[in-house]
Symmetry: C2
Subunit: 265 residues, 2 copies
């Protein structure tokens, strides 16, 4: 195992407690698609960083700027070099989150994006959800303990005041690398008790947990999974309109966070 450094657990706990009382200063927003990112880039007057903090050759893009008392970094995994589409899914999201934490040492991560929602759980197109928990629905490993590892359940950073004051819907988020939903995925999503389904959340949660950075998940519903329309069609139809709802939701969250500490959330 990697060495754990000099500091004792007690000293580390004291540092964490101290950090929770300091005002949040640096926020990292992780977004998978350019269409989801640009309204927020404009809203917060962010500019693309010319001095990349990322290795040469990767398509990852960082926008940054100051908004009120916050230093905001918005990262997006960019476009696939050969195919030209957004690098969606868990692997690019985990890599750009990892590299951004290493370079920027954020106080808080916001994974924002669009998601599918279940109407049986109360979701409607354009709803903005704050995830209480995140888990995977496409990592089935039917060996004891490995099965739990596969699900990878993690709680989002606790934000009871933010939830109450902003009146955002709260639900569980389930993550998988497919836009569609196979019967096996569906069974796992039901087991995860999920209201919203995305393609990155659980991977961002994994990296945030690994590097001990608190993370929250803001997801706007583009398509109703248990509705009549095919997911891909409904997703593309609503993507641009719902990014406006996402921008509004994330702005409310950022405005609320400004000047507060983690323990105020």
């Amino acid at each position: 195992m990697a060495p754990h450094g000099d500091k004792s657990d007690a000293a580390e706990e004291a540092m964490v407690a101290e950090a929770e009382k300091r005002p949040i200063s640096t926020v990292l927003i992780v977004i998978a698609m350019q269409t989801e990112a640009l309204p927020l880039v404009n809203k917060f007057n962010l500019t693309e960083a010319p001095d990349s903090v990322f290795p040469k050759g990767v398509p990852w893009v960082r926008y940054h700027g100051f908004y009120k008392d916050l230093q905001i970094n918005l990262v997006w995994p960019g476009k696939d070099e050969s195919l030209g589409v957004d690098c969606v899914g868990t692997v690019p999201a985990s890599l750009v989150t990892y590299a951004s934490i290493q370079a920027l040492q954020p106080d808080l991560i916001i994974n924002a994006g669009t998601a599918g929602g279940f109407k049986d759980k109360g979701a409607c197109i354009g709803d903005v959800y704050l995830a209480s928990d995140v888990a995977y629905h496409d990592r089935r490993i039917p060996i004891p303990v490995f099965d739990l590892y596969g699900v990878g359940l993690r709680q989002a950073c606790s934000t009871p005041t933010l939830q109450n004051e902003l009146n955002l819907k709260v639900g569980k988020l389930s993550t998988g690398n497919s836009l569609d939903m196979s019967p096996h995925d569906e069974a796992s999503i039901v087991a995860n008790d999920a209201t919203v389904k995305d393609m990155e959340g659980a991977a961002v949660a994994y990296v945030a947990d690994l590097l001990k950075v608190p993370a929250i998940f803001v997801k706007a519903v583009t398509d109703i999974i248990d509705g009549e329309k095919p997911t891909a069609e409904e997703f593309l139809q609503n993507l641009v309109a719902v990014t406006a709802a996402l921008e509004e939701g994330v702005t409310k969250v950022i405005d609320f966070i400004n000047g507060k500490s983690l323990s105020d959330l």
Copy 2:
């Protein structure tokens, strides 16, 4: 997009051509499970690096040492902090590959491990395959171009001489985050024309491609997917025995690589 630096494409191509002619010096072996890693750690007399090149707190483990003219680094994503099982799957593999490339600048990556095999394609328990191509079977995104991105087909580094001289079986590798195989996964595996199925290969290939490091994939068959026995049972039954075949296969590859350049492979 991230800046592409000062060098012209022509100068970069010349550097790559030059690198292909230099003897391979540093090899990075990426392995998902401790049981798969230890026979190779012993074989090459590697020792666990006390000065971690990885961030504090991550469970990733690096073993290193010199074997013949090669500097060998073997990395393994370690055990899940709360559950104690190996961190299998695409996200930990991609993260540890990324961090290792950044820290160690290897000339060649070998992703070694166990895999399921299809008897219809000629696979038997204990066979060691070299993958010609790798792709995903659990990233279904039914939108034009995104569908191809999801499959993420990549060719392994071309090694015609190594293949011929070592007499390893060659086949296509398909990657997904589940140990089992749903009907949807099966359809994608058939579309990928895969002979072997693992849980990391395509993610290692993605990161290697992103950072322009050549990669090969050595996979030993622990279970027959289109056979009679349940995968998890057969996998666990054969895991230890098949890691001996994997150790032998990887040793043959390393012995062959020693003293050679990429263009000799």
